[in-house]
């Protein structure tokens, strides 16, 4: 075992105006998990797209299982056993698990499709991996984690020997990640080579054997994970030392700014009570599906409330739609930036200005382009958004910079309460710290900051007080500096007695 199965040497790839890869090398052995690390825009995805045949390289050699490929096509790559699982899942939501797994290579009977054979095969693979998934279920009905497992199963059903996973855990809960790791370990034992791309460095220790680090399109270093400290890895990735992963500023606790009383909105938001004071960041922790996002959406007026009162600076406010919330100084930077946060076809300028048009318009609703430009330039400068100008499509920015636009559009106005829902998901270490600093800045200004996150180290490192949610209720409240992960987890799994059947 452990022979080299993928060897890429001196890979160079340019796109007009950008040199995405500059003489990069990469090696993968069978039966190992290789972490491919680097900041957003370091060239990881480009390199993997070359390996899977999506892009052709300009220079260099690609060798898979000892055979050199000059013009690798995606189909060829698939045939030799290279499978890639993208960050954004590529599934047909309205087809069943089996149909998705066999998409494009359906088993035909004499006249029609041989459904039973496909189902049997799908079931065999799913069982083999101990995945508790019904092959007949519609993929759209499955939670994201299960969908991802279906992708893995699909890859294995085509006998993948090289499995590339791009940010596989970004949408998973701790428990689901454990499941994923179990599967990865099994694949490893079976002799698969796995390329693992992730920004969540703390999870590497559980599965990774070796790491390759890239920065700005260049190969930096590689080596055994056990022989590298986390600090070396980060320094190599970022190219500078990050002093504090979780910068914290101390502020005196002031007046009560924000209060929610008896908030109810559907099954996932039940009897929510909490308040936020000046000079503190309140974190909301919990497992996936605990009702955190639903709570923020109900507060912001996106989803209807059944009951509940909201107070800003002691005054009751009525919020029935996002407009009400914004008018009352409550704003939300939503969780899924592609789906909820950005108009990807519009420019950065248009995105930044969208919720602030009232500030840049005259009384007839005509936009003052000078004011608009000023507002955007300030946001770009304050948030260190890396872009040549504000006119380019926001969809073309890297993840971290997209997130900064999502956040930035709310910081242009004077709000009293800023809610961040998973603001650091899928962005690199450096950008994360910038987002944390931003939250700290708001905290210093006396603005109430609510910080929803699934990553426990980050909630514990940034928030002052943490509310833990489980199953639509707040099950615990802890002080960040006095608590432990175990305590939070205990509250996060404090399910009600489930004698009553779930509907």
């Amino acid at each position: 075992m452990n022979e080299v199965i993928v060897s890429m040497k001196d890979i160079t790839k340019s796109f007009p105006g950008v040199k995405a890869l500059d003489h990069v090398q990469f090696e993968l052995r069978s039966g190992e998990v290789m972490a491919l690390l680097g900041e957003n825009g370091a060239g990881k995805s480009t390199l993997m797209k070359i390996l899977s045949g999506v892009y052709t390289r300009d220079e260099g050699t690609v060798e898979i299982f000892g055979k050199q490929y000059d013009n690798l096509t995606p189909k060829q790559a698939q045939e030799v056993g290279v499978a890639i699982i993208h960050q954004e899942l590529n599934m047909c939501r309205h087809l069943s698990v089996t149909e998705n797994m066999f998409l494009g290579r359906e088993v035909k009977g004499r006249v029609s499709l041989n459904n039973s054979a496909m189902q049997k095969e799908a079931k065999r693979i799913l069982d083999d991996l101990n995945m508790d998934i019904d092959p007949n279920q519609m993929v759209g009905e499955l939670p994201v984690s299960k969908q991802q497992m279906v992708e893995i199963a699909k890859a294995l059903s085509i006998n993948a020997r090289v499995l590339i996973m791009d940010e596989p855990t970004s949408a998973l809960t701790a428990k689901e990640i454990e499941d994923l790791f179990r599967i990865i370990r099994k694949l490893k034992a079976d002799g698969c080579g796995i390329v693992y791309i992730s920004h969540r460095l703390e999870e590497l220790a559980h599965i990774v054997d070796r790491v390759t680090i890239m920065r700005d399109g260049q190969y930096i270093t590689s080596g055994s994970f056990a022989e590298m400290t986390m600090d070396t890895i980060i320094t190599n990735m970022v190219g500078r030392e990050i002093k504090e992963k979780f910068p914290r500023v101390a502020c005196p606790k002031g007046r009560k700014v924000f209060e929610v009383r008896n908030l109810n909105a559907g099954r996932m938001v039940r009897n929510i009570n909490f308040s936020v004071y000046e000079g503190e960041i309140v974190g909301i922790a919990g497992l996936m599906g605990a009702g955190r996002t639903e709570t923020t959406r109900a507060i912001f007026g996106v989803d209807p409330k059944e009951s509940g009162e909201i107070y800003v600076d002691g005054k009751p406010v009525r919020i029935t739609c996002p407009m009400d919330a914004i008018k009352n100084g409550v704003v939300l930077a939503p969780e899924d930036r592609k789906k909820d946060g950005l108009c990807t076809k519009l420019s950065i300028r248009q995105n930044l200005a969208l919720p602030n048009l009232d500030l840049v318009c005259n009384q007839f609703g005509v936009i003052n382009s000078k004011k608009e430009e000023a507002l955007c330039e300030k946001a770009v400068k304050d948030l260190l958004i890396k872009t040549p100008n504000v006119e380019i499509d926001s969809g073309n920015l890297s993840g971290g910079n997209q997130q900064k636009v999502v956040v930035g559009k709310w910081l242009a106005r004077n709000s009293r309460v800023v809610i961040f829902d998973e603001p650091t998901r899928g962005i690199d270490v450096g950008a994360k710290v910038e987002i944390y600093n931003l939250m700290n800045e708001l905290k210093k200004q006396g603005i109430a900051v609510l910080f929803v996150s699934s990553e426990m180290p980050e909630v514990m490192g940034i928030a002052d007080r943490i509310l833990v949610m489980c199953d639509g209720r707040i099950t615990g409240e802890v002080l960040a500096q006095e608590t432990t992960q175990n305590e939070i987890l205990k509250y996060a799994t404090a399910f009600e007695n489930k004698n009553i059947q779930k509907s």
């Binding site: 796109f15 007009p16 950008v18 995405a20 957003n40 825009g41 370091a42 060239g43 990881k44 995805s45 480009t46 797209k49 892009y55 912001f300 996106v302 739609c321 996002p322 407009m323 919330a325 914004i326 939300l332 939503p334 789906k339 909820d340 946060g341 950005l342 108009c343 990807t344 076809k345 519009l346 420019s347 248009q350 200005a353 969208l354 919720p355 048009l357 009232d358 318009c361 007839f364 609703g365 005509v366 936009i367 430009e373 330039e377 770009v380 100008n389 504000v390 006119e391 073309n396 890297s398 559009k409």
Partner: protein, 339 residues
């Protein structure tokens, strides 16, 4: 940022959607010259005037459809609304009503259809294709019903020859500064709606909804109200087209405006308005309407038969969009892949 040093021309070219619009204008010039070489009468002053007048209808219906397309929706009812407008106006005038109240009453009726479309799509989340398919039939049905399933008599029989002529001249046969009024009307409407779409808050909201309705909602955009506004614009423009058709014929024709909703789509799409929403500018629609009319006019002038005309126009619409897709994909494929 180096934005400020950019020359005004560069800035103009930098406006998103400008590329597609300019491409359509270039195509327009090529088509026009090509026809003119075959038949020099295409270049005659009278033909240019005719061209401007007949493209006005397509421009107005194109503006109507573009507003809705940019939000990612579609309005199939506008052709029928134009027909309804022509029939109601004509019927009222044949009955002896003065043109001014007649057109105002008509406008009101048309806007009601717009509000219904807006509510069905914006508030009740019906697929716009279905909702406006329904109102398309309803509006056409009303066009038939207003005069008891018959075309109207000449409007002059009701309001008298003088008033009837005044109405027809105002919307169709009269000229101001040597150009037909129809074109001036369309141009004024174009300028107003161009401004609304590119320079105002509502315009920005229209683009935002077309690009990502969830993000727009979470940014405090009132999606329902904005959607209703776009359908009001489309119904209003369609109503205006109805008056023009009525003035042109001097009577109400139950089939007036037939297929116009699709001409609107064509004008928009040729000019770079994406039916998927979020992109396109009205200048493109202007070019698209002109291309469409130049094709019709030119094919007529070189003596092509109706069948051939349709085929050529159909092929050109698809080719225009195909070209756009190919060019854009080329660019996208290269630009997007930074990481």
């Amino acid at each position: 940022m180096n934005n400020k040093q950019q020359s005004p021309l560069k800035k103009l070219l930098g406006i998103r959607g400008m590329g597609a619009a300019l491409t359509a204008f270039v195509g327009l010039i090529i088509i026009y010259i090509a026809f003119g070489v075959i038949n020099p009468a295409v270049f005659s002053g009278q033909n240019i005037l005719n061209l401007l007048r007949s493209m006005s209808k397509y421009l107005l219906i194109g503006i109507a459809q573009s507003y809705v397309l940019i939000t990612g929706n579609i309005d199939l009812s506008i052709g029928s609304v134009a027909g309804m407008s022509a029939m109601i106006t004509a019927t009222l005038m044949v009955g002896g009503m003065h043109p001014v109240p007649a057109i105002l009453i008509t406008l009101l009726c048309c806007l009601v259809i717009g509000v219904i479309n807006g509510y069905l799509v914006g508030k009740f989340k019906l697929p716009p294709f279905i909702a406006t398919l329904g109102t398309m039939f309803v509006a056409r049905g009303i066009a038939y019903m207003v005069n008891g399933n018959r075309n109207t008599d000449a409007i002059a029989t009701g309001v008298g020859k003088e008033t009837g002529d005044a109405f027809q001249n105002f919307f169709y046969y009269g000229k101001t500064f040597g150009v037909y009024n129809t074109f001036w009307i369309a141009l004024i409407v174009f300028v107003i709606f161009f401004f609304l779409l590119s320079k105002t808050r509502t315009g920005r909201h229209i683009y935002a909804i077309g690009s990502n309705v969830e993000a727009a909602k979470l940014s405090g955009v009132n999606v329902v109200a904005t959607t209703i506004k776009t359908y009001l614009v489309s119904a209003g423009c369609a109503c205006l087209v109805g008056w023009i058709l009525c003035a042109q014929a001097g009577m109400g024709n139950m089939e007036a405006g037939n297929m116009y909703e699709m001409y609107g789509v064509a004008a928009g799409v040729i000019g770079g308005v994406s039916p998927l929403g979020g992109t396109g500018i009205l200048l493109g629609t202007f070019a698209g309407a002109a291309v469409w009319q130049t094709l019709e006019n030119g094919l007529n002038m070189i003596g092509a038969q109706v069948g051939i005309q349709r085929v050529v126009i159909g092929v050109i619409v698809v080719a225009a969009v195909l070209l756009d897709v190919v060019v854009r994909n080329g660019q996208f494929g290269k630009r997007k892949k930074k990481n």
